[in-house]
């Protein structure tokens, strides 16, 4: 009898907690990112950000060691390859600087923004989202540093993502690998337009082209298209084509892009002070 009453009380407690969760869930879902609950969330994140930042610094030797275990044997080879690539890049930079100036002029004529000419704010990555499902990072700059929702986030190697949430001292960045992310891009050689979708951590990014019969080369660079009303300004490098597979009989080619930035090891990023026109 006592056991029976006890288990009934247990179940009542479970239903109570589950219903509370569902209520909070419904309220938050309905408010969709602004409302009292979002304010609570913001406060908690702001309060925890300095602690996270400190802990991240303390832990960095550990994480550094962990991620270097796999790299150890490859360093010499990688060094040689980097030297070769650096020489090629130096030559490209000279040619590129000239082309850049020309393109900037052309884009200005069309009223489009060019990423190379935008002001930016440097920021430190203080944490990655503590989940296996969404790919976001938190950076240590917010509205105090003129950041706003929608701003593109980059490193020297290319596009990282865009700001999706901002508080006074901190913002959240949705990475281009997140399944919710879509980036309008252009293939550098053919000029063909397409959309790069996120496909989760460690994965290559699938590219959907608007027309299907264009030739696509492996290694071809991909940059943001910066079309009118796009989410990103033009000419931010995104990565290179890694894989092109045309299944026999299929209309569409499966094209995979390898991001230029190693999104799993971000430490410092730059936020471009540019918001999409709505």
């Amino acid at each position: 009898m006592a056991v029976y009453r006890r288990s009934r009380r247990n179940r009542f407690f479970l239903v109570l907690l589950a219903l509370t969760s569902v209520t909070v869930l419904t309220l938050d879902f309905r408010d969709g990112g602004d409302g009292a609950l979002e304010a609570v969330r913001q406060t908690a994140r702001d309060a925890f950000a300095p602690v996270q930042s400190a802990a991240d610094t303390v832990f960095s030797p550990v994480t550094g060691f962990f991620s270097s275990i796999g790299d150890f044997g490859n360093l010499r080879k990688e060094n040689a390859q980097l030297r070769r690539e650096l020489e090629a890049a130096r030559a490209d930079a000279i040619r590129g600087a000239d082309a850049d100036r020309e393109r900037q002029g052309l884009l200005q004529l069309q009223g489009l923004d060019y990423a190379g000419g935008l002001d930016s704010v440097p920021a430190r990555v203080i944490s990655t989202a503590p989940t296996n499902f969404q790919l976001t990072i938190t950076i240590d700059r917010g509205t105090d540093a003129r950041l706003d929702v929608g701003m593109p986030v980059v490193t020297a190697a290319g596009l990282v993502g865009r700001v999706t949430e901002v508080s006074r001292i901190r913002s959240t960045v949705l990475l281009i690998t997140d399944p919710q992310s879509n980036v309008g891009v252009r293939l550098a050689n053919s000029g063909e337009q397409g959309v790069v979708r996120g496909a989760g951590n460690h994965n290559l990014l699938p590219l959907d082209l608007i027309t299907t019969e264009v030739p696509v080369e492996v290694g071809e660079p991909v940059v943001t298209s910066g079309l009118e009303r796009g989410l990103f300004p033009a000419q931010i490098p995104l990565g290179r084509v890694r894989n092109v597979v045309a299944a026999p009989g299929a209309l569409q080619k499966d094209i995979l892009i390898e991001p230029g930035v190693d999104l799993t090891r971000l430490e410092f990023v730059r936020v471009l002070l540019w918001t999409p026109t709505r």
Binding site: F13, S21, T23, A44, V51, V62, S127, A129, P130, F133
Partner: protein
């Protein structure tokens, strides 16, 4: 005073949250990290039984929800159910063989991740794809490995609120 759960529980939650959001978020295996907050819910069920398991699951879910991009309450709902389920399934396991909590943590974590993805998908998040299998397996495996430590830590944090079948029996509460 020193074994007051009002004092120990917050310490446990903050410590685990800090580990989860900083150290572990950067140490991923196949892009997946252990889910410590889920493990806390599981450990709560193992060491505290259904009611305390549900309560600890609810608290740890709400806390991690504050730092996730998904709607608030999603983890809380899932972790409550997991904590309760583990509590019901595991009456008295603390005094049984060492591998029982390990296996329980593995299985419950796989179930928790799957449930989370299912409910998340209903709410319009893109969570179910081939990657889900990897996530569930890696989380299950790593949580199983970490389970013995987590059970001890959560048991410690319950302090005087421990149930009689706990590692070191304290006074039983009339819950």
């Amino acid at each position: 005073m020193r074994n007051d759960p009002r004092f120990r529980l917050p310490i446990m939650f903050v410590a685990v949250l800090l580990l989860q959001t900083t150290l572990l978020a950067r140490m991923r295996l196949f892009g997946v990290m252990p889910d410590l907050m889920l493990l806390v819910a599981v450990a709560g069920g193992i060491t505290g039984g259904p009611t305390r398991g549900a309560a600890i699951g609810f608290a740890s879910g709400m806390i991690i929800d504050l730092f996730l991009p998904t709607p608030l309450g999603l983890s809380a709902l899932v972790f409550t159910l997991v904590g309760y389920g583990v509590g019901v399934a595991n009456t008295g396991v603390l005094r049984s063989a060492w591998y029982i909590p390990v296996l329980t943590a593995g299985a419950a974590s796989v179930a928790g991740v799957t449930l989370y993805a299912l409910i998340g998908s209903v709410l319009g998040e893109r969570m179910i794809d081939g990657h889900l299998v990897t996530i569930a397996l890696v989380v299950g495996l790593s949580n199983a490995v970490l389970a013995p430590v987590a059970v001890k830590f959560v048991d410690w944090s319950l302090g005087s609120m421990r149930s009689s079948r706990s590692l070191t029996s304290g006074p039983r509460l009339p819950v």
